[in-house]
């Protein structure tokens, strides 16, 4: 991408989360700055899944963490329901935490190895004080219900520790741990990237089921385009801290409007097509986020770049009349 702009944002009343002009910068020594995320805007409607794709280092995880204020963004707004999260005190933030849960890539490393799994899942309830413990209590039966819902046996989880479970099962445990807090939104950062294809399919199906059962809203990060297409309603494509393209997943993948999206799609191998990847490779190297290109950040590698792309940042505009938006001076479809 490319560019900035907010034309694609929907009415505040129709969305549960609205992120506007989000900027996240990190000091890089010698007075330099890493421009990890540079003016990203998006929103998520209740019950929707927004997928975030892009290559390593483009700012997906930084965006996700900025949403939950870890750390507090350099600038921009994160509106969750009626609450502006960027201005909250520590204590106010603490109170919103249960509603915005995050799940990470490495399923085993993100679970305390010394605790039994049942206790790990219940942990949040103790920390957030939202329920008294004790066998047979309301909290206890809710934990059991959720453990069963993600496909594990509650009695086993009382005896076993994380290392006694497989990667896929540990990811189920992570999901259960988030669900007990009754969150509105779960942010999943590469939750299936470390898993075998078959286990990946199990976890993706389970996430869809949990979403339906508990009325969740998801933000789902992955560098795997097929996975993102499968689970998302809407998809956002990022490049070097900027938004390239966003919209309905079926529309966006069928008719990529941004040259970068097109290059990404052309690199995805396809078991149905021997020649899926026979085309040109993406030229050049990813520029440094310390000194990103001016104008459109993709201009150094874009086959369609003209002078204007090097000087002027493109703003997000609608493609056709559907839910499809692109930030490019020369979109491939308009």
């Amino acid at each position: 991408m490319a560019g900035s702009g907010t034309a694609h944002l929907r009415d505040k009343d129709d969305v549960i989360l609205r992120v506007q002009d989000l900027v996240m910068e990190f000091p890089a020594g010698k007075g330099q700055v890493v421009h990890a995320v540079s003016g990203i805007s998006f929103d998520i409607a209740e019950g929707e899944t927004l997928g975030l794709v892009g290559e390593s280092g483009c700012g997906k995880s930084t965006t996700a963490k900025a949403v939950i204020q870890l750390p507090i963004p350099t600038s921009g707004s994160v509106l969750f329901e009626e609450t502006e999260l960027t201005g909250l005190s520590k204590e106010e933030l603490r109170q919103t935490r249960p509603q915005l849960q995050m799940i990470f890539q490495d399923p085993i490393a993100s679970l305390n190895p010394r605790r039994r799994v049942f206790d790990i899942v219940s942990e949040g309830l103790e920390v957030w004080g939202s329920g008294g413990g004790g066998e047979g209590s309301f909290a206890e039966s809710r934990v059991e219900e959720i453990i069963r819902a993600v496909g594990l046996d509650p009695d086993q989880t009382r005896k076993r520790r994380p290392h006694e479970y497989s990667g896929g099962q540990c990811q189920r445990i992570s999901v259960a741990r988030a669900l007990v807090l009754d969150p509105k939104i779960i942010i999943c950062d590469e939750p299936v990237s470390a898993l075998d294809v078959s286990v990946q399919a199990q976890v993706l199906n389970m996430l869809e089921d949990m979403k339906a059962r508990y009325g969740l809203t998801l933000m789902f990060i992955s560098h795997d385009l097929s996975v993102v297409k499968n689970i998302s309603d809407r998809v956002a494509v990022m490049y070097l801290g900027k938004m390239c393209e966003i919209g309905d997943g079926d529309l966006l993948f069928a008719n990529p409007a941004h040259p970068y999206t097109k290059v990404l799609l052309a690199a995805v191998p396809d078991p149905e097509n021997q020649h899926a990847n026979d085309g040109e490779v993406l030229a050049g190297e990813l520029p440094s986020p310390i000194d990103p290109p001016t104008g459109c950040r993709f201009n150094t590698r874009c086959p369609h770049a003209q002078d204007i792309c090097r000087t002027t940042e493109p703003q997000i505009e609608q493609v056709g009349d559907g839910d499809h938006w692109v930030a490019c001076h020369f979109p491939l479809v308009s």
Binding site: D196, A201, N230, D270, P271, E272, L282
Partner: protein, 358 residues
């Protein structure tokens, strides 16, 4: 170095690890032939024996805990384990999934490339540096003269993998073992790396085993594919024959479990039920039987032999696409479960757009 002549011939190869519970049969009776200039893809879930097979062939896992048997012929010569270790780095090279663990983090890139060059080719220091720059250029590293004085952490994952390839290429190997070389990389970088390896193969007639769990990568980048499960070959055929005429229920199930760009959003995925087998005490009959939707009584009591159907090999009593297979499925659907007790649903209605390969 004529292409299409056998370079590596592996016959009835077995690797077992001695464990407290007994012998873990990580590789069980594997045979294949790899020609010069060609690529053998090895696919299967994690733990299926792909890495152990390749490391074993290269003589890299010998120890008192390892029981290794079988015949390995390289370039017409039968080689014992020790002889194979001597080939390694010269006539055969290897690249791995995570270049960070195989690169030395505290040694400059240039030195890491130079050392094998000086060792294997007997170059002087300045000759080796010149060659290192040449190799970095050939793998598409920009500003190679500057890069040789950098450390691995100063490079991106894709660049580190290119450095690994440069090191692996330094001895001008006749064969490359690539163990998930792009699994940790973005698709665009993956394409770059795989294109690069293909170009080397074309230029130099280099053979390659490409271990991958990505059936899309296997389809686009290999001449033949071997599907492994629980240490055994389930199916093995020329790549196009395998996809045109998929025979093994495991191959079919593996393919059905992956999400596809071509499918609409929220298309329900079909995971393989259950988990891979315990290789210390594998199921007595077909190792896939506990997870197979076609399994019948015979699959529990007998181990299916590898059938060779004009070079398309598979080990299954009810191969996909046959009448026997259709009958087995109908039987299981009617009783709601397979012979191993795996629950399966009734026959899907014809409107399902999801089924592939029958």
């Amino acid at each position: 170095m004529a292409v299409n002549t056998p370079l590596l011939e592996v016959e009835n190869f077995n690797v077992g690890f001695k464990t407290e519970r007994g012998l873990a049969k990580a590789v069980d009776g594997v045979s294949f032939v790899l020609n010069r200039g060609e690529t053998l893809g090895i696919v299967g879930e994690s733990g299926s024996g792909k890495s152990v097979l390749n490391r074993g062939i290269m003589g890299l896992i010998a120890s008192s805990r390892v029981v290794e048997t079988g015949s390995v012929i390289f370039d017409g010569v039968q080689l014992a384990n020790q002889d194979r270790q001597d080939l390694w780095g010269k006539r055969i090279s290897m690249i791995f999934q995570d270049p960070m663990t195989s690169l030395n983090p505290v040694m400059k890139i240039g030195k890491q490339i130079n050392e094998p060059i000086r060792k294997h080719l007997g170059f002087s220091k300045s000759q080796a540096t010149e060659r290192a720059i040449e190799l970095l250029t050939s793998v598409g590293i920009p500003e190679p003269a500057r890069r040789i004085s950098q450390y691995p952490h100063e490079m991106s994952g894709g660049m580190r993998q290119r450095v690994m390839i440069a090191i692996a290429m330094s001895g001008e190997p006749e064969m490359m073992v690539a163990d998930e070389p792009t699994t940790a990389l973005d698709v665009t970088v993956q394409k770059y790396i795989l294109d690069l390896l293909r170009q080397v193969q074309l230029d130099r007639g280099m053979a390659m085993t490409l271990i991958t769990h990505d059936l899309g990568v296997a389809r686009g980048r290999t001449d033949q594919i071997m599907v492994m499960y629980g240490g055994r070959i389930m199916e093995h055929a020329e790549t196009e024959a395998l996809f045109a005429n998929m025979r093994h229920p495991y191959t079919e199930a593996l393919l059905a479990s992956i999400p596809r760009l071509a499918h609409a959003k929220h298309t329900r995925l079909s995971p393989i039920p259950g988990a891979p087998p315990d290789i210390v005490e594998p199921p007595p009959g077909c190792r896939f039987a506990p997870r197979c939707r076609y399994a019948q009584q015979q699959c529990i009591t007998e181990s299916p032999a590898v059938i060779d159907d004009n070079g398309h090999r598979y080990a299954c009593f009810y191969p996909v696409g046959t009448d026997e297979n259709a009958e087995a499925l109908a039987t299981n659907q009617a009783r709601g479960e397979t012979a191993t007790g795996l629950k399966i649903g009734p026959a899907p209605s014809k409107t399902d757009n999801d089924g592939e390969n029958g």
